[in-house]
Amino acid sequence: MTRRLRLLFAGAAALAATVAPAHAARMPKKIGYVTNYATHEWYQNVIKGMKARAAQLGIVLEVRDANLDVNREVSATEDFMAEGVDVLIVTPVNEGIVPLVRRAKEEGIPLLLEGSPVKRMTAMVATCDYDTGYLAGIEAGHYTKSHLDGTARVMNVGLPLLSATVLRAHGFMDGLRAVVPGATLVNDIDGGGNPDTALAASAAALARNADINIIYGINDSSAQGGLQAWKASGRSQNNLLVVGTGGEGLGFIHAMNTEPAYRIEAAMFPEKEGFTAIDAAVRLFNKESVPQQIVSPSAAIVGADGWKKYYSVAGNVRTIKWDAVNRLTPPAKCMKITGGF
């Protein structure tokens, strides 16, 4: 018995000795992340999620900002490669990083994309843009039936230069039409993704078509710009629905709390996307097989207090409720993705 126990302990010790170093060795020491626009609230929260997960796993995470400049993005990524980071994560500014994707493959450096796909990529972590819009569209359809007499005339405050944001808007309209077949896209404008541009463009668009009753924004700034243009024109919010997308920062929470028309948010949980990206980077580092798109969950938040399910706010700081967000099940595959992927 004693001998057996001794053998058992010896075996367990040998296994532990094998597994523990292997586990430590499987964790990358340093991950380099090149974001495309670090000053945007969305990316700040992506980084927040990345840092939280990297700290849990004992990984050093270094972040550099391309500031929407692909040349800067390429040189920042090359710097990381020269420094010998174990894994690269890049949020592409545009297709200009394709040669880098090829080079990383040739040099055997795992490279994960965040947010947008490019050709020849190995893997990408992103929410499903179309699905996110679709889910919000379904909720908007129900709201239209219950609050807007079943009539939906939509102004999309969009960003046509980005395929991801175009997909969101398409998803929203398709979701809305699934519930309200007669829903019409009355105005499709370029709000530039910025609140002031969105406001200026929306003001003219509202004058062009006075009978709009739903404002859809491809991000929170666009939705809020559209809403502020509506308010500036002196209209009541009584028969209006505003739908934002992203859940980027505090803006949508504030709007849901204070604006009667801002009732639906297509939340994309940037913190969760950052968290998922680090996990995916570890899997790539370990040469595990990963799907080309690793989906980060999204959900439609409905009603003035809907956000409280996923976030808490203290002063100017919002904190994600990981339990609630982790309970969300992302789809295995997106309903629609950017052309060519």
Partner: protein, 326 residues
Amino acid sequence: MSDILQPATGTRVSPRLGANCPGVLLVLLAVLCLAISINSSRFYAIENITGILRQCALVLIIGSGMTLLLITAEVDLSVGASLAFAGVIAMDATNQTGSVWLGAPAGILFGGLVGLANGIIVTRFKVTSLIATIATMMILQGGVFLYSRQAIQNGSQLPAFSTISTGYFGPLPMPVLIAAIIFACTYVVLRHTLFGRYVYAVGANPYAARLSGLNPERLKLIVFVVTGLLTGLSGLILASLMNAGQPTAGHGFELTVIAAVILGGTSLKGGRGTLLGTLLGVLILQVINNGIIILGWDQELQLVVPGFVIVLAAYLDIVRRRDNVR
């Protein structure tokens, strides 16, 4: 010297194209309005006119200061960045103090301080205003994110803060009223005061102005501060309009302002320009922007068309100068 102290160059009658800048601009504006309204009856809707005027207000307020600055042969490229930062400061100060009466002046004062800094760098350190204000722009664009990583929301929900942009005085939206007052004051100062004549004199020939006993540096410093204060005021209105201090706002705003002022006939080389021209320049650019959306055209044209208009305006400026030389 009499030529230097002649501010009304834009109103001189000449048969040559471009010699009468406000006249040409007025015709251009009328043609634009007519063309757009023929294709869309919504153009003349009260709501649309109000929207155009509200958008014009922000540009015109800063444009009034920029006109003075360009006449003195200086420029301020930091106004877009300062606009965003001033809005953030105004919103934050309003939230912190719970008072618009303290928050609003904080934003305006911030703009004034930026103007003062620009003025000191240009007049004391002798850095050209183009370089100095590009540097300030970069400092402000980065600095605003050091100040706040996120948009500052109207947490206190004070109705007075929203009234600054969405309120009305009779039929006039509040920003339009504010812009009208600023425009009128600047117009009077430039056209009917000694200070206005000094502005032209310093811009036309600073050496001659100095020999005449003027202090060009001090005058330019004042104009920088005025432009800064007006930028702060515009930032406050923009923050009120968006119900938040948005660090990402104001990108490219400086180009819109400068384009409008140049289109209005103010020379980049200084000594020449009128506020009436600036007003018309602002109106033309905003009508073009509005018309592109009202007509449902591709919005990329909002960059392309004003670009062509500015080339045309620059050419007209050359024609005017050539006429004056003759």
